[in-house]
Symmetry: C2
Subunit: 258 residues, 2 copies
Amino acid sequence: MPDKAAKVRLCVPDDLSPGTVVSPSREQAHYLFNVMRLAPGDSLLLFNGRDGEWRAEVAEATRKGGALACVERTREQTRPHDLLLLFAPVKKARTDFIVEKACELGCAALRPVFTRRTNAERLRTDRLRAHMIEAAEQCGFLTIPELQPPERLDRVLDAWDPSRRLMFCDERRNAPPAAKALAGLAPPPGAPIDPWAVLIGPEGGFDETEAARLRAAPQVKAVSLGPRVLRADTAAVAALTVWQTVLGDWSGIEGTMG
Amino acid sequence: MPDKAAKVRLCVPDDLSPGTVVSPSREQAHYLFNVMRLAPGDSLLLFNGRDGEWRAEVAEATRKGGALACVERTREQTRPHDLLLLFAPVKKARTDFIVEKACELGCAALRPVFTRRTNAERLRTDRLRAHMIEAAEQCGFLTIPELQPPERLDRVLDAWDPSRRLMFCDERRNAPPAAKALAGLAPPPGAPIDPWAVLIGPEGGFDETEAARLRAAPQVKAVSLGPRVLRADTAAVAALTVWQTVLGDWSGIEGTMG
């Protein structure tokens, strides 16, 4: 049964090496010392997205800060698969959810895209980034995914990197099941997996012009996520789950953890 | 592009047959006539979980009710696979989410289970049922999943039907990947799929005693959902996605829609 120390995991900006002393932010100090009640000598985990994960010990606990001393590396840094989630912003709570889940499901990058039917509420990217950090801390991810700037879908497609494949969750009934379609695009054993993106549309789905452009693009694989109409947030989790299951770190092919 | 009528789909208690006239509830009338602005002659879809899906027309629109006349059956009734989601209640918003997603992902039944680490907030089953109805209306499901009474996990396991398999999402790293484990339990082509359940624990995971009991039970398949620690709501969506992908109606084996 995990003790409280093993549950506390913080993302910090500092470089991490043996003996490094990290000063938690005021908010982190509140969390560590008031909420989780860590005391001097207690252990916690630190990561920064570059130097792996470290066990650190509380050297000093104060109201506004304190000192956390790096003791030993507990996990080497790894890099997640180059998996990009393109998502049309939806209502605030559901957008927060998509961003949280994308971290738990191991995306390397996220990008909000505005489609023709996207009801563009104001997008607080600082808030999304805070959700991403919290999710990475909580799920054991060694990476904070990159949050790319919001852009119109048309422009994203205009500038598409031809080496990146795109999984397009198509509501047409004749699209092939997602898992089978992805399995058909798996590289030969031992070969690296292509960069991929997953595209999740807004609640109203894609405009017919957008859908036609997507279906016709050579890098795009149109796939079906089953017979029911999924909400955007469900579709995001389901599509990323299928991707990780077939091509990514849920496949059992390798044991790495991003 | 779907017109507004195609978007309106209501679950009603009435039996549905040609010429049946259904009186919407006051809340439904508000939704139909004020929110969606349907007028006499407009079409909508009705279902009741028994008689398939019907196109109906607004015969009369009033502030507190009105009349909806069944015109023609648009889809035959089907039954979803016998897939039960057992879930430990978590915080309110995330429990609501689990229930909504279980409908979108085609569960036949849901049951809240109290585990040793479940923080049992009061569970409003009427509220959960309302969420399930709304989710079924929205996603095109022909079934309102059964909401079984909350029970302690130990008692649920004591009374387990030996013909029902249980997918247990195990946080131990050596559990086999979920998709591979389920594929190994798929019936021969053409044979019916066993009754199944998926068990999702509370945020703190299962107690070691519970986990040991689960791993030892003959009907239980312990599986891994990848290398990161998923929140309970993410795990529910991911586990049900893998199940539908490998054994259910996302597998492409059959075209039925529950």
